[in-house]
Every structure is written in C-alpha cells, then in structure tokens.
Symmetry: C2
Subunit: 284 residues, 2 copies
DNA sequence: GCAATTTTGGAATTTTTATTCCAAAAATCC
DNA sequence: GGATTTTTGGAATAAAAATTCCAAAATTGC
C-alpha cells in the first residue's frame, strides 16, 4: 500500500535496492550491514551467516529459536536485507539449491548395487572419482599460476608437449587442441629420445605432464629445456613433484584415483582450459 | 466386516510399520511398493524417486504439479509409505539436507568472474562441462550394453583399440589400462593403414571409439572387422552413430561440450570402467 | 533527567500450506 | 452386465507459518 513515500517521513531513501539476487550478493550485503546493527538483529545476522545452508529448509520460528530471538526479529532482519519478508529470502535459497541433475545420486547408488566388481559398480566408482576430482580442482585451482602458464606458453614459438604413460592421453589431447587453435605444438611421445634435444629451439617452451611415479623421460626433457633457458610449464599432481624444480609455472591438479587408475577428469579440464586460453591469447 | 472369520487374521491393519527412519530406508520401501501401485500413485512415486532431493525444499503443491497429479495424490503417497503425512516425510529430508555448496559452486562462480575468456573462467566452464557429463552418464548408462561389451572383449584374444583425433586420448588411455591389466591389446593410431588388416586375427575383437564428425579410418577398421566376423564394441556419442551398424555392443556417452572441445570426462570414466572390468573378467 | 527516537517482544492477523473427506469415476470381480 | 471395490479429484477444513502492529522497554540526544 504505502510502499512509496509515506506522508510524514524524513526521506532517507538509504537503500532502495531490491532484494539480493544471488547467494553471493546476500553474503556481501550481510557483511556490509553487519557492523551497525542493534543487538537482536545482530544475533540474527550472526546465526544466519553461520547457518546459511539451513535457510532453505527452516521456518522463521526455527531460525528464531536458533538465534535466540523472537520471530519478529528474524522478519525484521529479512526486511533490512532488502527482502519483502522471510518467504522471499527463503525462495532465493531454495532456488539456488538446484543441482540440475536430481536423480544423480540415486542412480549412482543403483549402479553401485550391481555388486562389487561388476562393470556398472566400477563405472559408478569412476564417475564418482571424476566428479570429486573436478570439485576439488574448482576449490584448489591456483589462478595466478594458471595465468603465468598461459603467459609463458602464449609467448613461445613452439610448444613442446610431453607426457608419458598415464599422462600421455592428456598430452595427446593437448596436442590436438593446440592444433585446432593454430598453436604450433609438438607432441613428444618418448620414442627416439635423441630427437627431443634437436627439436627444442630458442624461444620455444615446454609443457610437461607427469604424476607419481614420475616418468624419467619427461623429467629429463624438462631438465634439458631448463638448462637451455627455455621456460617450462608443469602439469603435475603436487607441489613436491620433481618437476617443480625445473618449472616456471606449476599447475597442480588434485586427481582422485579409484583403484590404480586416475580419472583424469580434472587433469583434462585443466589441460583444455590452458590450451584454449593460450590459443586465444595468441590469436589476439 | 467379515462375518466368517478366516483361519488367518488378515483383517489386521495392513501397515503396522512406522515411517522410514532414514533416506535409505525410504528408498528401499519405495522400490518395494513401486510395482503394485495404481496409476496416479505411481506417477508420484516415479517423480519423487527422481527428485528426492527436492522434497526438503518443496511444498505438496509443487511436487504435485511436478508429478502432474492433484495434491491429494501426493498426500496419499506419503501415507502409503508409512508417514503420517507430507510434513513428516519432509522432516526426514530436511534433517538430512546438506547442500554441496557453498564451497564448490561459489568457487566456480568466482572463477568465472575472472571475465569471459579469461583462463580461470575457461577452467570453470570445463570443470562444469565435465561434471555435467559425468552426472549425465550416471543417469543414462546402459548396464546391459556394458555387460555385453565386457563379455565380448573378455572373450577375445587381442583387443584392437582404435580412436583418432579427439578420441585418441581415450584410445591411448585404454591401451595403457589394458596393458596394466595384462590384457593383450593393440592401439591403432591411423598411420600405416595397411597394417590394420593384417593385425586383425580370428578370435580378436575391436573396440572402436569415435564421435561426430566420425573419423573415416575408425569406421573403416570397424567395418573390416565386422566383415571378417570379428566382434566390435562401439564407444560413441549417440545411437545414430554410423558405428552402430557394425557393432555388437554399443556404449554411448553423453558428453557435454564447452565451445568446440569435449570434456572427455564421461568418455574416460566409461573407458576405464570397461577396461578394468574386462581385465578382471579375464583374470578370473 | 526528560523528551525523542529506536529497538524489542509478543499477540493478533493474514496468508499459505497441509490434510481430510466424500462423491464421482474407473477398475475389478462374479 | 451389474455389483463391489478401488482409485481419483477437488472442495472444505484444519494446521502451520508468515507477517504486521503496537505498546513497552531501551537507548540516545540534549
């Protein structure tokens, strides 16, 4: 009704801002106001900040109890944040929680029930390993290192890609993507070791990929390149990898294994991102 | 009421069982009754089984709409499962509720904020593509086809693996895993086409991998194998793939692309599962 | 210390949501 | 084919939850 100017008001339209449009915005706004909030409202803010994930499944009364305030305080809190009320705030969190693939976990469970060792159970395990790897990568990715790596490779004449054994699929995919992106690249496959030394020219760069147990040949090539003053980018499993010593930019990927085999999901995601970024950095 | 008392007291209340005490028990009970359920109730069951994780954040009306039934049908469904009503069922799921975020999805969002085309934004996209691919695979995997494929390959003397271009990384990884599992395998890499024909021996099998646009050489090899009566297993993107014609077992993987490049996550998960299953089937 | 302003708690109210109930429709049985 | 049982849809009702409102308490400014 009187949503707009009431008759007698000190018109202090501090915030005509609408409700937060995302969970992130919600957090930002919450942090902004947190400091100048009266006692009870502050209790709400603290409790809710610490329990954001329960907003979607709680009632006003429950949150109020949790924060040890009366329900009306929670309502006020919602309004201060820009929502029309609690329901609007809750809607934000209910919608934000929408993994597009609801029956994923059910289905995975069914697959696993095929019995330990059955093909479908194996598949479920590898799917899960891959997914965990990707999520871990999302959390741990080093943005600075990635930018460095792109810069190094974008400045090279030819990119020498080396990766053997388990790393070879990644190396070969990188070579493929580089070719598609018109980046001069050379895939070293470990046969004819002598060729390597001659192939490395000034202004080239090396992209070396290896995971424990680290492949001798890959390390050697990286070392050679370093000795000649060529920049080396490492794609490896951890910061203690021997590759780290020779490298100018280090990308680590947290890959979850199942049994003896890597899912490679995270490694490949990182590899493609790198290659495409290098490709477009060169293009422009 | 029955006048004549039968020997057994089958006029007892049908359900003395209380409500499911856990999500697992819920699933079990749902699976039990699923088969003998009238039409509308079955719609509920199907929809809810496929959307269990939305129960915690939905209203009866919302679920009813989703399942395309009236709200009362949903209520009946809850009661059949042993709950006193929807609220009790919802309580179970609300207690178990714990969303995957904030970490993962917030972080992804931050990565993307590096700006379109930035290396980290690309990484986020590929991570997301990979994850979606894996989840889609979990949903769509054809257990029967997988078992067929394992049977075919486990019975072969030598497995010929062929996959070129984008499929080559997968093929090479398969070759690696087969080697580790002591399965005689041969990786065909497209150079020296003539070799292929001679390499195929009676009792061998072919594992062909290709995605649109399908590689000529791969199709040719599969066709040759078929012509000689060798079994062919296809790992491809859809049922309309030209590979399907020559194949005895068809594995399709729903891979989500970002830009021009496949994440390969799902394909590799399927490939490893297949290889490991074949390896252990032979071992025993 | 007094008046003005802000903050608070909880009761009253409104809105939404869950739940029941029953007549009609459909299916099943004899 | 008619009687009986099961299933269904939706209106009616009950319950729960959200939201508003206002008087009392606390705080602030002078």
């Amino acid at each position: 009704m009187d949503q707009t100017h009431p008759p007698q008001t000190d018109d202090l339209p501090d915030e005509i801002t609408g409700p937060p449009a995302s969970v992130d915005e919600f957090r930002t706004r919450l942090a902004d106001i947190l400091d100048d909030l009266p006692r009870r409202l502050r209790q709400c803010a603290d409790y809710i900040a610490a329990n954001t994930d329960r907003i979607a499944v709680s009632t006003v009364a429950e949150l109020a109890t949790g924060a040890d305030v009366p329900p009306s305080a929670v309502m006020r809190f919602c309004q201060i944040l820009g929502f029309s009320g609690f329901s609007e705030m809750q809607r934000l969190f209910r919608e934000a929680y929408s993994p597009g693939w609801p029956d994923y976990s059910t289905r995975l469970k069914n697959l696993k029930e095929g019995g330990a060792g059955s093909p479908t159970a194996l598949l479920a395990e590898f799917i899960e390993a891959g997914r965990q790897s990707l999520e871990a990568l999302a959390k741990s990715a080093d943005e600075v290192a990635l930018q460095q790596a792109v810069a190094v490779l974008a400045g090279a004449d030819t990119v020498h890609v080396v990766g053997l054994r388990r790393a070879f699929p990644v190396a070969s995919y990188l070579a493929y993507v580089f070719e598609k992106m018109s980046v001069p690249a050379m895939l070293h496959d470990g046969v004819g070791k002598l060729d390597h030394r001659f192939a490395l020219r000034p202004n080239d760069a090396v992209l070396a990929i290896t995971f424990a147990p680290y492949s001798e040949e890959t390390l050697t090539l990286a070392q050679d390149a370093k000795a000649r003053g060529l920049p080396v980018v490492a794609l490896t499993d951890r910061m203690t990898s021997p590759l780290v010593r020779f490298s100018d930019a280090i990308l680590t990927v947290p890959e979850v294994d199942f049994g003896a085999f890597r899912s490679l999901s995270a490694t490949i995601a990182m590899a493609i991102a790198l290659a495409v970024a290098v490709g477009s950095a060169r293009g422009s």
